[in-house]
């Protein structure tokens, strides 16, 4: 067992760290107070350097793609990474990106669809992909910190089946979702830790109060377990491990998100602080692939009934 990256993964992560620390990844309010800030320059930097293809590299693999997704979820700026670096890289590498994913209901709004050039469907018994022509997507407003859209009623798409097992693809997508959600929890937690370390009330930092320390420590425990479960699921790529990682992280995320907002106080209720970027991605991802109930039951089924 080795919890440290191999040489290639370490190099990959170290270059990635430089990119996620660059100004374009950081916080800036959207001019129209939109809930997300898509960074085209960070996206281009990652694409030009081949980062989104890492899952296909034998020495990098799905673990690197999950790490990439996790690290990008920690920054305030938004880039479409989860679907591109996992499903697209492994099942449809020639598909244009950004990519949106339809998990269950083809008429439901999903992230990135308004800006996506292609869509991947996992709701049937095959993996299906289609390129998106102008006019087939309807942008919808939402609480969630992603561009959200749905397929326009009556839109005709040219669906193509791609090679691969849809159960495997759903496991890969569960890993990606778990990694992104874990990254959102970590990003939000880091921001709240910074806030409570600086904000003084009653003559001392909020973070010196035990009531706050203990709940943040519990949140940190869950965030850390979520991170490692996502990486282990990426390494193993089995439906059981994927359901475990996603179900655990989704179940944990409810309480963690509430606590993050609680300790950010009124500041966290504004669009002038980035906390909502993480928590309103997390609130969408918590419902991903059926949400914690479906995923923990799926884990039960894989573990105890060989379903």
């Amino acid at each position: 067992m080795r919890f440290t990256p191999n040489e290639d993964q370490a190099a990959f992560l170290s270059v990635l760290a430089q990119m996620t620390e660059a100004p374009e990844a950081g916080w800036k309010a959207s001019p129209d107070w939109s809930r997300f800030d898509y960074s085209a320059s960070l996206d281009r930097m990652l694409e030009d350097n081949g980062f989104f293809e890492c899952a296909r590299e034998p020495t990098l693999g799905l673990v690197a793609a999950a790490s990439l997704t996790y690290q990008l979820a920690r920054v305030p700026a938004l880039v479409e990474c989860a679907a591109t670096s996992t499903l697209r890289a492994l099942f449809a590498p020639d598909l244009p990106r950004p990519v949106a994913v339809i998990e269950t209901d083809p008429l439901q709004a999903v992230p990135f669809l308004p800006t996506a050039k292609a869509v991947i469907r996992l709701d049937g018994d095959k993996i299906a992909v289609a390129q998106l022509e102008p006019g087939v997507v309807q942008e919808v407003s939402s609480l969630f910190a992603y561009p959200m859209g749905k397929l326009a009623a009556g839109a005709k798409l040219d669906w193509q089946t791609v090679d691969g097992d849809v159960h495997d693809a759903r496991a890969v997508w569960s890993v990606a979702t778990a990694a992104e959600l874990a990254g959102c929890l970590k990003g939000g937690l880091d921001a709240v830790v910074k806030h409570v370390s600086e904000r003084q009330q009653f003559g001392r930092p909020l973070g010196a109060f035990q009531a706050i320390q203990h709940r943040l420590a519990q949140a940190a425990t869950k965030a850390e377990a979520a991170y490692w479960l996502a990486l282990r699921a990426a390494d193993r790529r089995t439906p059981a491990d994927a359901a475990l990682a996603l179900g655990y992280t989704q179940e944990a995320s409810g309480r963690v998100v509430q606590d993050l907002h609680q300790f950010m106080g009124a500041m966290g209720l504004t669009l002038e602080h980035p906390l909502h970027r993480w928590t309103y991605r997390a609130r969408l991802l918590r419902a991903g692939l059926g949400g914690p109930t479906a995923n923990l039951r799926a884990y039960y089924a894989r573990k105890w009934t060989n379903a």
Binding site: F3, V63, G207, A220, W228, R236, R297
Partner: protein
């Protein structure tokens, strides 16, 4: 990154399981019912551990010099998982293997090493840990038991409480104050005390956590030679720091929790309740908590196996372990409540009684949360 066991690790685990299969009697669940400190389990351990030693499985990670096999950290850990999950047939002797032996190897005098280590390596030594006192639990540095130098001896007076395994122990790893009352951490020394020394009285405390597990231990004018002191006066804090770092993650409790949960689910399936969506959700959630605990514990073992110092990572693991244990015991009590009445399910009863200790023994959860807040999150030290 690689999250799989090596072929060597798997072979080692299979060897341990085969040994347990062969050596544990049919009535083992009844023997193990009342916990590692019970008379039945202690007596069993004195038969079992010598066989374990003969098979090279008592302390494979110890240095060859002390009868060990110089085996890797992971083997020590796999051994701990299999033993604890089986109900701990080593009884109280797991403490010798995990930290008392290694601590004596590092800090003991040659005489202490020759006297105490070979019986541990033979599987015939029972030790207890004299740490907590009525006014010194989580705040251990407040302990008041005094050891006063008198010529070539020390005379010890005081009281210990919650002392695990004291009733049947041969020796005590005792913390006592040699400095004045205000000396704090710097005034404490360790004594290796023969429990048959005149002046020691042990009273078992009736408890919820099995037989013979917790005691009050009174020391009245207990005279021990100065050669019973481990290390120097005032060195206790740094020595136990080493001991605990050596075994900080503690007992691999999630392994037993995980296997007991498995038996609970099998029982519910036998009863035709396997299709109940609520049971599936709650069992899936408890199992996920066990896996969260497991992966955080493995991370600390992996760090240790690379020689990296483990700090707040151990506290993260312990908080997750307590959560896992609690979710399994709650699951059983909710959906198999009747199994906690009568004697039909000794393993569930034994697990429950072990699980309610988690979060209290060897560093309360609140202590761990404070460590995480300050050492992992970097939050400021607060008094309130």
């Amino acid at each position: 990154m690689d999250f799989e066991w090596s072929a060597e690790d798997r072979a080692f685990r299979a060897r341990v399981r085969a040994f347990l299969e062969k050596e544990l009697p049919a009535n083992w669940p009844e023997i193990a019912r009342h916990g590692p400190g019970s008379r039945e389990q202690t007596e069993f351990s004195l038969e079992f551990c010598p066989k374990l030693a003969a098979a090279g499985l008592l302390m494979p990670h110890w240095p060859k010099q002390w009868g060990g096999g110089d085996r890797p950290t992971w083997e020590h850990f796999i051994l701990g998982e299999e033993m604890w999950a089986a109900g701990e047939p080593r009884g109280a002797q797991y403490m010798n293997v995990n930290w008392i032996g290694p601590t004596l190897m590092r800090f003991g005098s040659p005489e202490q090493q020759q006297r105490y280590i070979p019986p541990m390596a033979a599987g015939t030594a029972i030790w207890c840990q004299g740490f907590s006192e009525p006014d010194a639990g989580s705040d251990l540095a407040r302990l008041r038991t005094r050891a006063v130098r008198d010529g070539d001896d020390y005379v010890i007076n005081g009281q210990k409480i919650w002392t695990s395994y004291a009733g049947l122990a041969h020796n005590c790893f005792l913390l006592a104050r040699t400095g004045d009352g205000a000396s704090g951490k710097a005034g404490i020394a360790i004594f290796l005390v023969d429990m048959k020394t005149p002046g020691i009285e042990v009273r078992s405390i009736p408890s919820l956590i099995g037989h013979g597990d917790i005691h009050e231990t009174f020391f009245t004018d207990v005279r021990v030679p100065a050669s019973a002191r481990l290390g120097e006066e005032g060195q206790a804090w740094s020595i136990i720091g080493y001991s605990l770092a050596n075994e900080r993650v503690g007992i691999p409790r999630y392994e037993m929790a995980s296997r007991v949960l498995d038996q609970m689910v099998q029982e519910l399936r036998r009863r035709g309740q396997g299709d109940d969506a609520v049971i599936q959700l709650r069992a899936g959630s408890a199992a996920a908590n066990c896996e969260a605990a497991r992966i955080l514990v493995y991370r600390t073992v992996e760090m240790r196996s690379r020689g990296e110092a483990v700090d707040a990572e151990a506290s993260l693991a312990r908080v997750a372990v307590a959560e896992a244990e609690q979710s399994v015991t709650e699951f059983g009590m909710e959906f198999l409540n009747d199994a906690f009445t009568g004697d039909d399910h000794p393993v569930f009863l034994a697990h429950h009684e072990r699980a309610i200790v988690t979060g209290i023994a060897a560093g309360a959860t609140e202590i761990q949360l404070g460590l995480i807040a300050r050492r992992w999150l970097g939050l400021p030290n607060g008094a309130a």
